[in-house]
């Protein structure tokens, strides 16, 4: 660098003398020379900075490299001489840069039932703000805070909730541990539920009624990925509380697990649950995955459901050949040990089911794409049964199993860019009540 300084001074002097002569052509030539000098200096600074950010390894053949380095740039020798120091610089630099990131997503929905236009509804379904903050290279905190239905107070329908609050720590590349309030990695929607990432205004029925998205538990988990394309996680967490089951309402019939989830709100925590889940994406464009969650539901409380246990499993696949996006998911839950509890519910409309299940197939087609904007129609068919059977009870005292619901959804997503989506769809249930138009807007960042 020092040898550049005299030449820079010379260039300035030349430029000044050029002005004195007031010869325009000379002046231009000199300015051009100045620019070239400046560009060279800027280049040196940039390569120094870059070398600091990503340290240069000492070249394997010192003799050869020294010759080349000397003939090209003074910075080569300098960076090669101190690779250890440069590595330390990188560690600090990456942690201080952008340590805290603000994230968020939200959606506004409109539902218009054709059979009952008076029930049409517009709703700020949810607004979520979050952040992630990196303490150091290996450790960060991730948090998400959610408001549902716009207004939250004692007299309003809204909810405010902490959706995630966890600390992640990388133990090795490809292996980490997380602790806190975390999303359970079952299904394709629960962990990735931002509106621009799925088709349709409303979240699909299966991953609402069977897998209670947005489903989170407090606990500890290990997560990692392998060179073969497998991403996995396994955890020890809080679970559901069956003492909350209300056999008099229809809530348990609509969302069996959604009605007894705890969301780490003074959660009963005598019985730990465990989960294992994995996704394989070893072939670009293909995703195959599944997971299992199990735990006791009584939480040590003194009631007839004390020994009940949940086992929930699911498998899914998604394939994106060319402009197409095809996916399928199947989930099945089983609650054992409900006999004694259900005897206390005799005569009530919603005892605890022994098994419940759901599945869907979905196809989408990216019909149009222009830069970041895209338009994709889709069709989805879902099957859901929230009470496929009940544990045996004495004849005459049992409840009849639920019928399987079948729902068609035909619609389209229009992405203004990957983070902002407008959606429209029609939902129809041949044997049921669902027959409506949905419109929605969503975003994420």
């Amino acid at each position: 660098m020092p040898r550049r300084l005299p030449s820079l001074a010379l260039a300035i002097a030349l430029a000044l003398s050029g002005t004195a002569r007031a010869d325009e052509a000379d002046l231009r030539a000199e300015v051009a020379q100045l620019r070239a000098e400046l560009a060279a200096l800027r280049g040196e600074v940039a390569s120094l900075r870059a070398a600091q950010a990503a340290p240069l390894a000492a070249p394997p053949a010192p003799a050869a490299s020294a010759a080349v380095a000397a003939s090209s740039s003074a910075s080569a020798g300098r960076t090669a001489a101190a690779p250890g120091a440069a590595a330390d610089v990188r560690r600090v630099a990456t942690t201080s840069d952008n340590a805290t990131t603000l994230t968020g997503y939200g959606e506004l929905n409109y539902n218009h039932p054709f059979g009952d236009a008076g029930a049409s509804q517009a709703d700020l379904r949810r607004a979520v703000l979050g952040f992630s903050h990196r303490f150091d290279d290996a450790t960060r905190i991730v948090a998400e805070f959610e408001w549902e239905h716009a207004v939250t107070s004692a007299d309003d329908a809204g909810e405010a909730a902490v959706e995630q609050l966890l600390v992640e720590h990388e133990l090795h590349p490809g292996l980490g541990v997380r602790a806190g309030l975390m999303l359970v990695p079952l299904g394709m929607l629960n962990e990735r539920h931002e509106p621009p990432t799925y088709y349709g205004v409303e979240r699909n029925l299966v991953e609402t009624a069977i897998i209670p998205t947005t489903w989170r538990e407090g606990g500890l988990a290990l997560y990692g990925n392998t060179e073969g394309g497998l991403t996995w996680s396994a955890g020890l967490t809080t679970g559901f509380d069956l003492s909350k089951w209300d056999a008099t309402s229809g809530e348990g019939r609509e969302e069996p697990l959604g009605s007894i989830h705890q969301e780490l709100q003074l959660a009963k925590a005598r019985d730990a649950s465990v989960f294992v889940a994995g996704n394989w994406q070893g072939v670009p464009g293909l995703l195959v995955g599944g997971g299992v969650f199990t735990g006791k539901l009584g939480q040590g409380q003194d009631f007839a459901g004390r020994d009940a246990r949940l086992l929930l499993g699911q498998v899914h696949a998604r394939w994106q050949p060319g402009p197409f996006d095809l996916s399928a998911l199947y989930a099945r839950g089983r609650i054992s040990g409900t006999e004694a509890l259900n005897l206390t519910f005799v005569g009530q409309p919603s005892p605890v089911p022994q098994s419940f299940w759901g599945g869907y197939v979905q196809g989408a087609w990216k019909l149009w794409q222009d830069g970041d904007a895209a338009f994709a129609p889709f069709l989805r068919h879902e099957w859901v049964n929230t009470a496929a059977n009940y544990a045996p009870v004495p004849p005459g005292l049992g409840a009849a199993p639920a019928a399987t619901r079948r729902v068609w959804t035909l619609g389209a997503n229009w992405w203004l860019n990957p983070a902002v989506v407008f959606k429209a769809d029609l939902q129809r249930e041949p044997d049921g009540d669902l027959d409506r138009l949905d419109l929605g807007m969503g975003y994420m960042f």
Partner: protein
């Protein structure tokens, strides 16, 4: 039973090691991309891409190609990647050096990175059509694809004539 679980998780901190999320050093990327090179000569970067570092890979007689190390934002975290180009500016390999997002580590998979081999400024990678998406890592895939396309342009503009 429960105690055993908790004891097992208690062993986790013992596995701790520093330098998480760094999968490959620059040195490793240089040697992997140009095993025959005898020198990596730092070259001028690009004022518009402050994180970009450029090395010319040489053997005793000639230029073998270029190694470009740059960063893009995934969703919230930076991804550091190394792009190796032959002397004509065709992609030899793409390596992910650092990846910090919780989801989307699959962009490190050879099968995904191989999609970039053979691309050049004349035939840049196009995300969503010839570069496949990874579910859960759409933004990472898109930004790395865009980053590679920009580096190919940089080569055509600035490196090809050197």
């Amino acid at each position: 039973m429960k105690l055993r679980w908790i004891a097992a998780l208690g062993a986790v901190p013992a596995l701790h090691s520093a330098y998480a999320a760094v999968y490959l050093s620059t040195e490793q990327a240089q040697r992997a991309a140009f095993p025959a090179a005898t020198a990596f000569v730092p070259a001028e970067g690009d004022a518009e891409r402050p994180a970009l570092a450029v090395w010319e890979a040489r053997d005793a007689t000639q230029r073998l190609g270029w190694l470009l190390v740059d960063r893009v934002i995934g969703r919230t975290e930076e991804i550091t990647y190394a792009l190796a180009l032959d002397a004509a500016g065709t992609v030899l390999s793409l390596e992910v050096l650092e990846y910090r997002e919780t989801h989307g580590g699959e962009i490190r998979l050879p099968a995904w990175r191989k999609q970039f081999v053979g691309r050049s400024a004349a035939h840049p990678p196009q995300f969503g059509s010839d570069i496949k998406n990874i579910v859960g890592a759409t933004l990472s895939c898109r930004h790395v694809s865009d980053g590679v396309a920009a580096l190919l342009q940089f080569h055509a503009r600035r490196l090809a004539s050197r």
